[in-house]
Structure formats: C-alpha cells, structure tokens
C-alpha cells in the first residue's frame, strides 16, 4: 500500500481514554445484582486421590450458597474444528476441578458465598482426605529406569501401536524409561540422549561434521517461568434466559466462545463473552481459561451471578508455565563460519496434562534462523507433577534459540569472526528453507527474510564497532561485553473473515473479533479498511470485545498471527465494499463499475458521484448482497450469523481472506546488548539494548516499538532472573509469588533503548504486514547471554537465568559450576 494516510502512522487508539481514566473494565471490575463470590480449595500435595470430602460444616455456614465438586463438571466434549473435523476429547486432559490432583495447587472444589470472607472461611471448614500418590517434578528423574511416574499410567503422551493401514489410536499416557547406559554421559554433565519421541533430519550430517573446521558439543538448560499476567484469570458469570454471560480475559473474543461452549456443553449461540480489556495473555489464555467454567456452574447452581476472583498465588498455580527445555547441541562450522551441521536434542518438561510442544517445535526455527547445511532434530516431552504448561511468547522458538545462540557466539570467538558477521554469514535470505522435507521431498520455506538488513541497521544504531572496541577491558572491578543475537518465529495465519458496514450516516462501522491485549491490533488492522475506502479515522466506529455485537470469525491473538491474518481479512472486506460501492454508483449514474473509483468519502465516475452515505442508502434499497441479505458462501458460519444480524443497515463489506500465499510467514529480530559485570560481586547490569525487526510493513509504529522492546524485555527476564522452582522432595512450589520469581522492573533495563524496523513489505500478503510479538523474545534473552560471554569468556554458564552467584562460582573455578541436568534449582 503506497502513499498511506493511516497505515504506518501513529494515532490515538479508541480504548485509550477509558484506560487512562480508569473507566476501562476488566473482568473483575464488573458488578452484578446479587453477585456471589467464589473461592477455590487447592490441592496441598503434588499427586493424590481424594478419598472423601466433608462439606457439612461449610454448608451450615450462613452465607454459603453453593459448593461445586469435580464430579459435577460436564464430561470433556469432543472438539469440532472450523473445518468440521472432530477431535476426540482427551479424558486425561486438564479440567477446572479434579478429584485426582496431579500438581500442588490444583483446584479440587469451589464454594460460592455472599462475600469472599465467607467463601474463604467455608473453604477452611471443608475437610478433604487425600491418598498421596508417587510424584516427580524433574523430567530426567522421570526418565530414569527406576524413576517415579507422574501418573499411574506413565510419564509421556503417545499413541497405541496401530495395525498397518489403520489410523493411529487416540492419545494416551504411556511409560517411557531410558536405560542406565542412556544416562552414562550425564556423569560428565552432558545431556543424556535416549530414545526420542520426535526425530527429523535433512542433508548429510556426518559429512558436515567431517568437513567442519570446528565442532562444538554443548549442553544447556533453559528454565521455565510463569506468565505472570498482571490481571489474574478472574471471571464473572451469570445466566439470563438460558444464555450464559461470561466476563473474562482472553486472547480471542471470538474463538473463546467455542471453548466455553465446549467446556460447558452449550450451544455457541447461548454464550455471550464480554472481554473488552484483557490484562495480559502472553499465550496463557489463548481461547480463555478452563477455570472460567467454575463461576458459570456455581452461578447456575446458586441461581445468582458469581465472581471468581483469582489471587496471585492461585494464578501462579493454575495460570500456566512456559516449559523448561534441556538442550544439547553438536555443531560443525567451516573455517569461514558457515554452519555445516547441527545436531539438536531437546527434552521438554510438561505437566501431567496436555503436552506443550515447545521441545518438539524448536528445531524448525533454528533450521530457518541459521540455515545449517545439514541438520537433525530430536525431542521428547516428559510429564511431571507441576502446573500446566502453556504457550508463552515465542513458545519453543525461545528455548531452542537460547540453546543454540551461545554456541554460535562461542564458535565465532574461536574462529575469530565478528559476531554480527557470523550471523550475516548464516542468515536466511528471501524464501529461505526450513525444517525437514515433506513426503514429496520438498522443504518448506519462508515468505521473505531480510535478516542481514536488520543486522546492518542494528549494528549502525547500536554503534557496534565502538562498543566492541571497549568490550573485555577491565576498569576497576568492572568489565563490559557486547552481544548480538538473531531470532525468528511464525508471524501470520490466513483464511479469516472481515466484516464492516458503511451506514447512511456516512460512517464506517467495523466489527473486530480480535482480543484486546493492548498490542492494539484489535484496532490497528482496521486502519487498512479505512485507508482503502477513504474514510477519515474520525468517522470509523469499531465494535469489539463483546460477542453479542456480531463479530466476524477471527484468529486467536497468539503466535503473532493477528497483524498478518486480520489485515488480510480487513483488505478482503474493504475490497468487497469497494466493489459493491462501484456497482451501486454505476447502476445509479451510468457506465461500468470499473470506471468508478472510491476516494474522499465519494464514489465518482463518468456519470458523476455519490457520497458514501448515499451509496449506503442505495445499498439498503437494493438489498441482496449489497446490504448483507445475501452472503458469500465461503465465510465462516460464525461470520455469517453476525452478518445476518447486521443486514439491512447499510453497504456491507464481508469476505474471507482467500489471498494466495507462497510460503510460511516468519518474522525476524536482531538484538544488540551491552552489559557491565562486576567480577568481584558477580553483579551485572544491562547498559544498553537495541532491536531491529523484519516483519514487513509497519502498521502502527508506536505499538510496534512497544512490542519490539517489550517482548525483548520478557526475553531478557529469562537470562536475568525468572524461573520457577519445585521442591524435589515435597513437590511444592518455592516460587509462588512475584518477589520469589520477579519479572524485570523499569530499573532492570536501560532507560534509553532503541528500536527500528527494516519495513520492507512482505511480498506474500496484500498489506505487506506480518506479526512482531514473538521474535524479540529470544533476541533479548540471547543478546544478554552473548554479551556476558563476551565480557567473561566462554564457559561461564550452562543454564539460564545467569545469576550473580553462578558468575562468581564460574570465575573462581575457571569453568561453569551450574548443573545443567537438574530442573528446578
């Protein structure tokens, strides 16, 4: 899109005034007449079975209105996908309440009472008799020949062996143990590599290592961490005329309706979700949270609205955790720095519930990012008795890149190659290939990649050469180091719908199904439609955050999809509206539709011109497709229902994104960091940081900058401080609160960070824009890791976060003293 007035410009988003005045209502801010409060009873043990529950004392308390047990939850329902495919329900999947807790802190039952004090007192008065069961919190322990299993059936997810020609059976929990021989290498601190669950490769790995001038073999551990969304997953629910009204934060206003309907076994039309504002998601509430069914069921039981206010402690249990990943890399480099062979093994930890695919997916990103000539990726995901693992910004990509980036940095140092140059040499270019070949022997590829341009821009802005010149120099007890890192993640999906109406008041009414997480994509993407139709932004009204407002089928705001997916959908809907407007004008004024153009709030051509307001009136008179009484057949049924409700109000633009795309969309970030380390105390701080994105066209610069630097800091937290710790002997959390697992504060990061973007349009999407939420994460994490080794030399760390005590120990002993094989330390 050339010569844009809206796309690429800053503006005041429609939600900002409500936010700065405190009027913006998050789930917990709503009140309903006669509202009750819910409290949860949490499991005190990491694995057990409820033998009996005595609620008599609680029930006798004045003000207690309802108690909900796990046995009262509807049985898990099958999922019917958007394409009509049925995915069978997993009977072992996470539920809102359970009588067989598989982690400490899991919710057992819930009480609704007239206020929180009464509900909490009732919880205290309930007696639960638990039968303790064996448990394990460390994935390697669970893989040991004699290691305990986190569930009675085993320690990994798998499918039963199927006869040839028959489809594989449903997922089940199986036992997978490695032998003592498999663990032999762990004695030397190297990651054991027994039988994996997933394995793929391409190229000639052996030849790559044979031809290599340098071969490195490194073991590294990336800790897990809580999402720490600042708004806990509280929810308010009530029923009116058989419909459920749910107030809850989510990353998708539209797709969460299907989740709630499935959890509660309701028809989707009987669910209304109000979610105008969500206080952070980061992957942990992609389509809402299963726990929101608790207030819904309590509300039904007590016949009153129920607010379940989730505390920070509860959030840290049920809110989810990014999986830790153990990694081992064998990498072979040519003399000129070219990566010839990469052999990656990853062990991902998991809860005892659904597998989070971080360990298995990481290899693909690495193969794209460094373009190794030959690569093998092996992975296994092991269940433990710890809280549910959920996607967190750049899932899988972050951990794999954190495992490989320090190896790239070490190789550059040993080969005498500049760190920026090392990444330029191995950078993906254009339609760069990734992952293994498919059944037809073809490897997938990216839509575009301009990583070298991002590196060059960042090098200049950061002042790499000047900072590099002073790195390693010791001043008193302080020494500085510089680090650069590259990162990538998927950045866009396709096939969603756009829906808008130009009404006789001349305004453009846009329906936005995007969740409002503050990335502003909920509004930003619709600037495209306003731009194309030529309506000034002041005359655009956006409906969002309430599914009773007739929203179109929309992607989940996760995996950096939205900017790409929904600018395409907006483009499709605007194109549809423009085509219809031209037809209306041609019919009214004469000539062919192609002779008319839409600009400046008018449709003009050989026969004169009409205002958009006049076109809207005529659309209503003409009916049919023009005002939404006839709809395209390829739109999603969710969109069709919404469009039917809006029909007859003006000129409707409604369309599915069917634009072609050659390749898979990925975005890239290059991050640059300078650190200063006090070698006498081990304390270090980040002196400066710069990040440059390659994600196509920039739609909203300020929001973009917020993503690039904000997500970089989330990544930095993995190097600086964040981790969860589970006691190995009792299976209890030692990091329940923010002061034990603290996200970075404003003083932990430099006060003048810089960001920029390559801003080259993606050739495979009409607006040219891709997402940017995820790739800054690993760039931030790894730029610091690499700056630390630049300052202190190789062999300082073998796990992240890198704490001051681990630096002191490494300096004293001349080698890394951290244990990379034990989780939760």
């Amino acid at each position: 899109m050339a010569d844009t007035k809206l796309v690429g410009q800053n503006y005041v988003t429609p939600d900002l005034l409500a936010k700065v005045t405190g009027r913006a209502k998050y789930a917990e801010d709503f009140r309903a007449e006669g509202m009750l409060f819910a409290k949860l009873l949490l499991s005190p043990i990491p694995h057990g079975r409820v033998r009996s529950v005595d609620t008599s004392a609680a029930e006798a308390m004045p003000g207690v209105r309802a108690i909900l047990r796990a046995s009262e939850l509807p049985a898990p329902a099958d999922t019917v996908t958007d394409l009509g495919e049925t995915i069978r329900a997993n009977p072992k999947a996470e539920r809102a309440l359970t009588d067989e807790p598989v982690y400490a802190g899991e919710a057992i039952l819930a009480v609704a009472a007239v206020d929180e004090e009464t509900a909490a007192a009732a919880i205290e008065a309930i007696r639960v008799d638990f039968e303790p069961l064996p448990f394990v919190v460390d994935p390697l322990t669970a893989l040991r020949p004699d290691g305990p299993n986190p569930r009675a059936e085993g320690n990994v997810w798998g499918r039963p062996a199927a006869a040839p020609g028959t489809p594989p059976g449903p997922l089940e929990i199986q036992e997978l143990k490695w032998s003592d021989a498999d663990f032999a290498e762990s004695e030397q601190g190297k990651l054991p590599m027994g039988k994996p669950q997933v394995e793929w490769s391409y190229g000639d790995l052996d030849a790559g290592f044979r031809n290599a001038a340098l071969v490195l073999d490194e073991t590294f551990y990336v800790s897990n961490n809580q999402h720490h969304v600042l708004e806990p997953r509280s929810a308010l629910a009530y029923w009116q005329n058989g419909k459920l009204y749910m107030h809850s934060g989510t990353q998708s206003a539209v797709q969460t309706v299907a989740s709630i309907a499935r959890w509660l076994r309701l028809d989707q039309k009987d669910v209304v979700l109000i979610t105008e504002y969500t206080g952070g998601g980061f992957g942990s509430r992609a389509t809402g949270s299963v726990q929101c069914m608790i207030p819904a069921l309590l509300s039904k039981k007590a016949n009153a609205p129920v607010l379940m206010r989730i505390t920070r402690e509860e959030e840290n249990y049920i809110g989810g955790i990014r999986p830790a990943v153990h990694g081992r890399v064998k990498a072979g480099f040519a003399k000129d720095g070219r990566l010839l062979a990469l052999d990656l093994y990853t062990i991902g930890e998991n809860s005892a519930y659904e597998a989070q695919g971080d360990a298995a997916s990481g290899g693909r990103f690495v193969s794209l990012l460094y373009q190794p000539e030959a690569m093998r990726s092996r992975a296994i995901t092991v269940l433990t008795n710890t809280p549910p693992r959920r996607a967190q910004s750049q899932p899988g990509g972050l951990q794999a890149i954190m495992i490989v980036e320090p190896v790239i940095a070490k190789a550059a140092r040993q080969l005498g190659i500049d760190q920026v140059e090392m990444r330029r040499i191995n950078a993906p270019v254009g339609k760069a290939k990734l992952g293994p070949a498919n059944a037809q022997g073809q490897r997938g590829y990216a839509t575009s990649a301009f990583v070298r341009e991002a590196l060059d821009r960042g090098k200049e802005i950061f002042g790499w050469d000047a900072r590099k010149a002073r790195s390693g120099q010791r001043v008193g007890s302080k020494v500085r180091g510089v680090g650069v890192a590259v990162s990538t993640f998927v950045a866009g999906s396709t096939g969603f719908d756009g829906l808008l109406v130009i009404k006789p008041d001349g305004k453009l009414y846009v329906q936005s199904g995007v969740g409002n997480l503050g990335t502003e994509s909920v509004f930003d993407v619709h600037r495209v439609a306003a731009e194309m139709i030529g309506v000034p932004w002041e005359k655009v009204a956006i409906a969002w955050g309430d599914t009773s407002q007739h929203l179109p089928w929309t992607c989940v705001s996760g995996g950096s999809q939205t900017t790409h997916a929904m600018t395409r959908a907006a483009h499709a809907a605007a194109s549809d509206a423009i085509a219809k407007a031209k037809e209306i004008a041609a019919r009214a004024l004469g000539g062919g539709p192609e002779a008319y153009r839409v600009a400046g709030e008018r449709v003009s051509g050989p026969g004169g011109s009409l205002t958009l307001a006049q076109v809207a009136e005529r659309a209503i008179q003409m009916g049919g497709k023009y005002d939404g009484h006839e709809l395209p057949e390829d739109i999603n049924k969710f969109t069709a229902t919404s469009a039917q409700a809006l029909a007859g109000q003006g000129l409707m633009g409604v369309a599915r994104d069917t634009y072609p795309r050659d390749g898979t969309s990925f975005s890239f970030v290059a991050g640059f960091a300078e650190v200063e380390v006090d070698v006498e105390t081990g304390q270090y701080h980040l002196v400066d940081y710069t990040a440059v994105g390659d994600s196509g066209t920039i739609v909203h610069p300020r929001a973009y900058g917020g993503q690039v630097l904000g997500r970089s800091i989330l990544g930095m937290s993995h190097t600086l401080a964040l981790k969860t710790v589970y006691d190995q002997h009792y299976g209890l959390s030692l990091t329940q609160r923010m002061y034990q697992s603290r996200p970075p504060t404003i003083l932990d990061v430099p006060r003048n960070m810089k960001w920029d973007a390559v801003n080259i349009p993606d050739p495979e999407t009409p607006v040219g824009a891709r997402g940017i939420g995820e790739p800054p994460v690993a760039a931030g994490a790894c730029a610091i890791l690499n700056a630390l080794s630049d300052a202190l030399g190789d062999d300082i760390y073998r796990r992240a976060p890198v704490t001051l005590d681990s630096i002191l120990m490494a300096l004293e002993h001349g080698r890394p003293m951290q244990d990379p094989l034990t989780a939760h330390i």
């Binding site: 009464t118 920070r312 630097l709 923010m738 504060t745």
Partner: protein, 205 residues
C-alpha cells in the same frame, strides 16, 4: 458467627469506643454474615467511616481488616484501582494518600480515615480535561494491556508533586515500585516523561 453473637452490651461498648452513635446496619453493602457484629466485639473499631476520596466525602461501612483497595473497588465502585497481586509486589493498586503514593492493597482503610485519598478516577477535571500525566500517556500511546496503568499514573502524579522536573532516569526511579508485565517500560517512560513536561506547561516541540 451469626447475628445472634452480637450482644447489646458489646454493641454499645463498640459504639462508645467509636464515639459515634449511628447504627451501621443501614449502611451495610455486603457485610459478611460471618463478620457482622465484629465491630462491636472487637470493641473499639467503628465501622462507619466518612472517607475523603477524590475530593468528596464518602460514607462507607468498613470492616476492621479491610484494605483500602477493597473499599475502593467493592464499596465505592472505584474499579480503576487494580489488584494485581494484593501483596505489595506489583503496584497496580497505587493511589495517593495525602499526595503520597501508597499501595492500596496494603493499607487498611481505617488507617486513612482522616486522610485525602485520590484515585485514577479523580485525576481528570470535572469537564473531562485530562490531567497532564494522563494526557502524556494519550499523546505517546503509553502502556499496552494497561492493567498496571492506573498505578503507574498515580505513582507519577505523586512523584511529580515533589520532583516536578525529573530527568528520564529520575522518573524511572520514581515509578520503580510499579511492575508492567507487558514490559513496555521504554514507551511508558516516554509517556510519563511527556506527562511531566505537560505538568510544567512545556509545549510539544
């Protein structure tokens, strides 16, 4: 505990200690059945307070152990003050008490009964004109999910009362008791610093 536990003698004792002979019953919003009568039994804590919030006197029934955040959010309908952690770790609930930023989750309402309390809802002028710090946030599109925003803005307003001309560095220290999990610190600092300039009447340029 039930209503029956309130003896006439204890009730009178409480009222005498509190010094105000007004029944709190008529003001009960959502007093717990478990706690009703507690004022009397604890014999000294009057439950009916007249709080000064955003320049108005608000009469409200407050339990002895009730936090200011709870009173603001559940009794006075001022939900702009957010609860992120409820334990003084995140700063989302920051309000001004006699112009000083305080974590409302960790202040007992009874402790501020004689003080001036200001929340995010009380910052803009009656005609809707935004406070300069709010305007700075609007100008720079500060913050993302904004759950932390009220706390950051109140902390900034409080800090600027004593440090009207802070550097970027100084202002960062001024709001370092507030946590943003979107980690949008760079843009937040730009927005709040713009707010500081606007507070001093510095024009854009």
């Amino acid at each position: 505990m039930s209503q029956k536990a309130v003896s006439r003698r204890n009730f009178i004792k409480g009222v005498i200690a509190g010094g105000v002979a007004v029944s709190s019953a008529a003001y009960l919003f959502r007093s717990s059945p478990l706690l009703s009568g507690q004022a009397a039994r604890t014999g000294g804590v009057e439950r009916l307070l007249a709080l000064t919030v955003n320049g108005q006197t608000r009469r409200v029934d407050v339990a002895p152990q009730e936090t200011l955040a709870s009173t603001l959010r559940y009794k006075l309908g001022l939900t702009g003050t957010k609860l992120g952690c409820d334990r003084a770790e995140c700063g989302a609930c920051t309000v001004l008490v006699d112009d000083v930023p305080r974590y409302a989750c960790s202040v007992l309402t009874h402790a501020v009964r004689t003080k001036r309390i200001q929340t995010i809802e009380g910052l803009a002028a009656a005609d809707g004109t935004l406070h300069p710090v709010q305007q700075g946030v609007v100008d720079e599109q500060g913050f993302q999910c904004a759950f932390c925003m009220s706390g950051f803005i109140m902390a900034t307003v409080g800090y600027l009362k004593k440090h009207p001309n802070p550097t970027r560095e100084e202002l960062a220290h001024g709001v370092s008791g507030n946590l943003c999990r979107c980690q949008d610190y760079d843009k937040i600092l730009t927005a709040l610093h713009r707010g500081a300039e606007l507070s001093r009447g510095v024009a854009r340029g």
